[in-house]
Amino acid sequence: MSKRNLKRLIILGVICAICTAAAIGYSLTFNDGRLVYPMDFGSYQFQIKDVPMILALILVLLYVAYLVVSLIVSGLVVKRESKQTGRTRKISPKFGYLGFLGFIGFLGIWTYLVYGIIFPFVFFIFFGFFGFFYEGKMSNVLADERFRKNRREAELKALRVGYRLTFLLILLVGMTGSRVSAGTVAVLLTSGISLICALVQFLNEYLLYRYDQMDSADWEDEGE
């Protein structure tokens, strides 16, 4: 994604956030918090004072759609460029810091205990972004046949580990039987599968880097 597009995305995001905050403020001040607090949409009746919140909601939805389309297009462009040049995609190792987003998953403990909401556990999947540290180190290198072979091996090994862990998780959940509630099973599966996906993603990049850099100490004395 070009810097211009990234700048546009950030500016639109900020505008979107300001508009949403203003709409929420308006709703809380003049409209009894309608469409802010949970409400029964079955008996919902439109009021003219709801318009700011509805507009903010539409704006957020449009922004999310734009964000998703931009990311997909950007991903496709990078993939096409990578195919044309035969090199790996350009990516900064700093993207690895996105892996810290995975810690948001721990919010799930609080949301589950207080509100019974399981969704935040899905954020554990972001731990996989720590793999960008390794992918970034191999950014824009020639993907020759040895690299492709290593990539296949790394993928295979990562997937094998993921498959085994998924099996163990299912076995564990199955063994709990009726001793735990359906909610606990959902938490176990959501967090477990998210963590496994993250691990597979991370291992994929880590193993590729490791295979590629193995015996790297020997390389130094071979410079000619």
């Binding site: 020759d144 690299f147 390389w219």
Partner: protein
């Protein structure tokens, strides 16, 4: 990782024709690290790469790679 079981004389022939690893890598379209692995017989090349290397150094494949 499975190590290839073969003998590789690439280093000798490459030096004979006066090519560096970098130059040979560029000629055959691989990374320098791949040439290094080949010379250490730690990587089993594809037939295409073996042919390309053979052409680049002007030596028959069977003399470079002994399986």
């Amino acid at each position: 990782m499975i190590m290839a079981e073969f003998i590789c004389h690439l280093k000798k022939y490459r030096q004979q024709v006066g090519l560096t690893q970098e130059q040979l890598a560029e000629k055959v379209g691989v990374r320098r690290e791949t040439i290094m692995r080949l010379e250490k017989a730690q990587y089993n090349p594809s037939l295409k790469l073996a042919v390309d290397i053979s052409r680049a150094v002007g030596i028959p494949i069977e003399e470079i790679f002994i399986f």
